[in-house]
Amino acid sequence: MKMNALWLRANLIKAVRNFFWERGFLEVETPALIPANAPEEYINPVHTLPSWQLQTSPEICMKRLLCSGHKKIFQISHCWRSNERGSRHLSEFTMLEWYRADCDYHTLMGDCEELLQYISICCLPKNGCFMHNSSKIDPFIPWQRISVQEAFSRFGQADVWDCLRKGLYEEILVSVIEPALAQFDSPVILLDYPAELAALARTKSDDNEIAERFELYLGGLELANGFSELTDPLEQRKRFEKANIVRSNSGQAALPLPEPFIKALETMPTSAGIAMGVDRLVMLTAGASSIDEIVTFIPEDL
């Protein structure tokens, strides 16, 4: 990592901390080594001690803190996902997560706008724009909000439900939608995902086919994933079991359920939470095209 990228990264993390401290969030540290993550179809934890895993996200423990009465919390922590390595992926990476009680996903979208504008002021040179590949992204011009359904029909002339049925969702998203989002010179929020794509999100009160989930894109790069939290323990258990069935059907080992978390949901307030990739945020601030450019060491060099 170049000297200036190291400074930029440190400054950015300091700015993120300041942002949340100034807004009354409590900075927390939760254990990275846990007996169970939230089982997901396509995320594989790194296993360590017999029957323990490294966190794929600090969500389980942070949501339990909401259940015990904390209203606004944030954490910057390392997360591990097995076999994920590419120009935007590392198996070990840095995640920023924040959670708010008594809010829904719209509040988080507002937080994202304020946070990126704050980072632009603290960390970016004159023009205040984030960079990805050849795109410049200005966080101060009005942000685009596009539903997933609309994005598929507008950019891909396709029906998202149809794509899901045919198993083409990811291909269309990567080859058509993300390049289209890269054309915007403002950040873009994709929102309202098909319910099956949001294992821990609440569905809309007037439409149980749509989940209150959103993803933030800058220059076509996926930066954050947030949602209104599902607080129904029975429904949550059903979804975890469903994820494990998908895993078993595709030859992946089923994962243990995080029982204390499911139990804690009984007391979980209405809330919303979001995960943002810190490495990708540094990439956008540094204008780096590969994650390798903004970390101290890559696994291949260890």
Binding site: I43, E84, H89
Partner: protein, 187 residues
Amino acid sequence: MYTVADLKKGLKIILDGDPYLVVAFDFVKPGKGQALYRTKMRNMVNGTLLDRTYRSGETFDPASLEERQMEYLYKEGEHYTFMDQQTYEQVVMEEETLGEAKNYLLENLKVEVMLFGEKAIGISLPNFVNLRVTGTEPWAKGDTSGNDSKPATVETGYVLRVPPFIEEGELIVIDTRNGEYSTRVKG
């Protein structure tokens, strides 16, 4: 057998019966979805580029390519014949497959022939070859026109620019990597 996760730049695989070289590779995983692998590959027979996206679980056979030293024998029309001097086995290559390499092929030149199974798909030449000049204008002594090179034809029929002092019948060294005159063979 490779799985898609084993692919990386520089790896050679078989696709639709042809050998391909992986020239770019990336792992992508959109929003908690399934992992996808985006690849760019070059067909090692005809040079065309191919973009393909794969899901995890796809498998590929490695393209085993063999480089063997052979001697260039002769050409007949557009067919060039090479022979392995150990086994006396002969292979034939089309002019199109050889590309620029045909400019330096003089009988008995030793080259590395790239074989995909039985099929010859390319050759690597020595970096420098010696070829005799078969035709060029004589050097007009006292020429002050300022031209510091002139065209010359060598024994393979290849035409290149050489310095004005090179005479017909001389042996010159040509750099096969860029096709340019390198130096004159003294004596």
